[in-house]
Amino acid sequence: MQFWGYKRKEGRAGIRNHVLILPACACGSESARIVASQVRGAVNIVFNTGCSDVADNTAMSQKILTGFACNPNVYGVVIIGLGCETVPHMELRKKIRSMTSKPVVSFGIQDEGGTLKTIEKAVRAARDMAAEAAMQQKELCDISELLLGIECGGSDATSGIASNPAVGELSDLLIDLGASTVMSESIEWIGGEHVLAKRAATPEIHNQIIQVCKNYEDHLKAAGQDCRAGQPTPGNKAGGLSTLDEKSLGCIRKGGTRPIVEVVEQAERPAKSGAIVMDTAGYDISSVTSMVAGGCNAVIFTTGRGTPTGNAIVPVLKVTANALTFEKMEDNMDVDLSGIVKGTKTFQEGGRELLTVIGDICNGKMTKAEAYGFSDIAVDHVCRFV
């Protein structure tokens, strides 16, 4: 299986060719938004941190920012800092340049003399970069260049019964074709971690999976918090998911059945190819943020109750097996898998159908969240999301 993508000097190919306007801190976010709105081919993210933070939160913010810049769907980066952020924009630029050969420039609002002067310079830089990006031709890429993030959010009982098994089937099909997938949301392994660990390629990976869950619980306990107080969410409960365990046993099915070859930290780039799991929160926006920073070039997202979420860098494909949700939220749902619940379609057939859709997305077809220009982001912090 092949797709038409943008080859990069380092790492996987892009399925998009964005110029990324990247704030180095919250104070750069509004300028970044204005710059992106002025230049066709540019996207921005809104960043709500980067200042007045403890070291571990700063480290996470930096992992997300550098990871976004290095994402294969990004052609080049225009950074907008303030000047007094924890990690100055020049340093962030230097760090990104040490990781990738793609064009990276940066501006500081204090040095440039205010918002308008910064925006002018940044628009010029982004315009030139977008003009160059538009000249890059798509090339035939093997499907092994795909690193698909697998996510679920707004889950109800149809997720575990139908849409997650279908996406699990998709993951198996992709891995057999040589592609790689990342399943995240480690808090939603709890209660099903013993089942997930059976897929580990080695005993070490088996224990890593168990340890990730134990660490998550211990970490929250140390802060006097209980993961079961936030999971399942009120929406999950209304959707028939009564305990974290029930939610998890349905959640892990979206990762399929192939051996797990690597466990990575959140926002970390996998070193191996195949089925990979990432230690992230169950909070879908934060989890997608981490997978995009980890280099996923597309994300498939199952939902029961329906969600509009999208990411600026990576297309997010929304699938549901809840017929009512597909009908009510057709504006946000991409694929209807409700036939699996009704018994008119098997989850294996659903998985094969999704493979075709993913092929189209890789070739440039926009998901609904992408067409709307959605740009959700949430950066996990010391007291983790659940």
């Binding site: 009982a157 971690e193 089942v195 134990k214 998911l241 029930e246």
Partner: protein, 100 residues
């Protein structure tokens, strides 16, 4: 006969209703080749679970063939099983580790 419930594993003691089931109506589900029925003793909302047997206080609730929680109170056969009457049991991670 059209099914309106899904039994995820033969070990399960709950069935997930894939349509709203009013009190007094039948939940119809497959167990292997066999089609089984059960009367709903109260309304079971869409996507929610119904007890297949009488569940005593503290009894294990099984779905997907795995433990999803224990009951906070006795739940009679045909009653609605939800977050209001079951709870998550803490994990014993140490026992799940394997020898490397």
């Amino acid at each position: 006969m059209e099914i309106n419930g899904l039994l995820m594993d033969e070990k399960d003691n709950v069935v997930t209703c894939v349509a709203k089931v009013p009190a007094g109506e039948q939940v119809i589900y497959r167990k292997g080749e066999e089609v089984c029925t059960l009367t709903a003793e109260e309304e079971i909302p869409y996507c929610h679970k119904i007890a297949l047997t009488d569940l005593a206080l503290g009894e294990e609730v099984i779905k997907y063939g795995e433990l999803i929680g224990k009951t906070r109170e006795p739940v009679k056969k045909g009653r609605w099983v939800s977050h209001n009457n079951i709870y998550s049991v803490p994990r014993d991670y140490e026992s799940e580790m394997v020898t490397v």
